[in-house]
């Protein structure tokens, strides 16, 4: 350390050591023109231990996000090809759905009126036979379902005289 400081610097540095934040006007004036002494004050203050002050609730919870939002060159989130393909497919499906809806509206059949059968109460249903115009148990109706051979066979058996039963009078 061969260099000697000017008297003004020595006095200013003494003032900085005593109270770096409350300097006399002459010391402040010296600092404005002396980068070395100004830097000495920065270093001296930086090394002083600072007490943790009270801060508004939640201040330190939000500060990192606030800082990060202001960083230059925030990268745009890059998507892979798969999400893009899925998004394109979804868009196509939506477009097809909307198009199909309007196409269906354009070619829809004219409105029709459908008649419904009158309702019948349960008493009426109970009084009617199951097949009012054709009784499936009727022998004639049963014969209609037979083939010609079966019909001939049945007629032949009917022509054979039946032996009397004991139940008849």
């Amino acid at each position: 350390m061969n260099h000697t400081l000017p008297e003004a610097c020595l006095k200013t540095l003494d003032a900085i050591q005593t109270d770096p934040l409350n300097l006399e006007p002459w010391a402040e004036a010296h600092l404005r023109n002396c980068p070395g002494c100004r830097e000495a004050r920065v270093q001296w203050l930086a090394m002083e231990d600072a007490e943790s002050p009270l801060v508004p609730a939640g201040y330190f919870d939000t500060l990192p996000d606030r800082v990060l939002r202001k960083l230059p060159g925030q990268p745009v989130k890059r998507l892979g090809t798969r999400p893009l393909l899925l998004a394109a497919a979804a868009a196509l499906m939506v477009a097809a759905g909307i198009g199909g809806y309007f196409a269906g509206q354009a070619t829809a059949p004219p409105p029709t009126v459908t008649a419904s059968a009158p309702t019948i109460d349960t008493e009426t249903l109970e009084s009617l036979p199951e097949a009012p115009f054709q009784d499936p148990e009727d022998p004639i109706n049963q014969l209609e379902g037979l083939s010609p051979e079966e019909s001939r066979s049945v007629l032949k058996r009917m022509m054979v005289p039946q032996p009397p039963t004991g139940s008849e009078p």
Binding site: C9, A50, E51, R66, L68, L71, P72
Partner: protein
């Protein structure tokens, strides 16, 4: 900014029992230097209280301290690629905060001064070299000078200064380590700064 090269340091930073030098801090710094903003967010989270405390101790106002804290981290992010671990990250960012806070304080003072003072011949603020420009100039010019000056410091001054800027120990911890009083530690550190300033001014002359 007074930058001290690690190549000239008589001692290396203590990583044991010091959360400020925890391995994850070094990893975050490295990742943030490569542009990892999430890693920088971790650094903000770890050191925001220290930076705020320093800014508040100078400005005594929450709003002003908040502005300085945000500006400090933004400047640190921009300057991070040039950070060479010549001090701890905490020392580095606290120094930025101190410089920002002193600048803010100076601007406040100028805004509240009566106009007559400027008319008396005070240099107009617009004509002065801006603090960041001057800091950059100091940073470039002082680096080589300080590499030469640091080994020439008296041993006790050098030891106290290194423990402070590289290990981020508080004064009482340094006093305990060196076996001297807190007042003596502060005196050693201040005289070290004074000697570095002397060398700086002599080198520029």
């Amino acid at each position: 900014m007074i930058a001290i090269s690690a190549t000239t340091l008589p001692m290396q930073p203590t990583t044991v029992d010091n959360p400020l030098h925890a391995p994850e801090v070094l990893e975050w710094v490295k990742s943030a230097q490569e542009g990892d903003q999430a890693a920088f967010g971790c650094l903000v989270e770890r050191f925001q209280r220290d930076v705020y405390a320093k800014a508040y101790s100078i400005l005594r106002s929450h709003g002003d301290a908040d502005d300085v804290v945000q500006e400090t981290f933004l400047r640190a992010y921009r300057a991070l690629p040039g950070f060479r671990h010549e001090s701890s990250f905490r020392t580095w960012i606290i120094t930025i905060a101190t410089r920002q806070a002193l600048g803010a304080r100076e601007r406040q003072r100028l805004n509240h001064e009566p106009l007559e003072l400027e008319e008396e011949g005070r240099e107009h603020p617009a004509l002065r070299v801006e603090e960041p420009q001057m800091s950059a100039l100091l940073d470039r010019e002082s680096r080589q000078l300080l590499r030469e000056a640091l080994p020439r410091l008296p041993d006790r001054q050098k030891e106290a200064l290194m423990l402070k800027i590289h290990n981020d120990w508080k004064y009482d911890r340094i006093a305990q380590e060196m076996g001297i009083s807190v007042g003596s530690v502060k005196a050693h550190i201040f005289h070290a700064i004074q000697n570095l300033t002397r060398h700086f001014k002599g080198g520029r002359a």
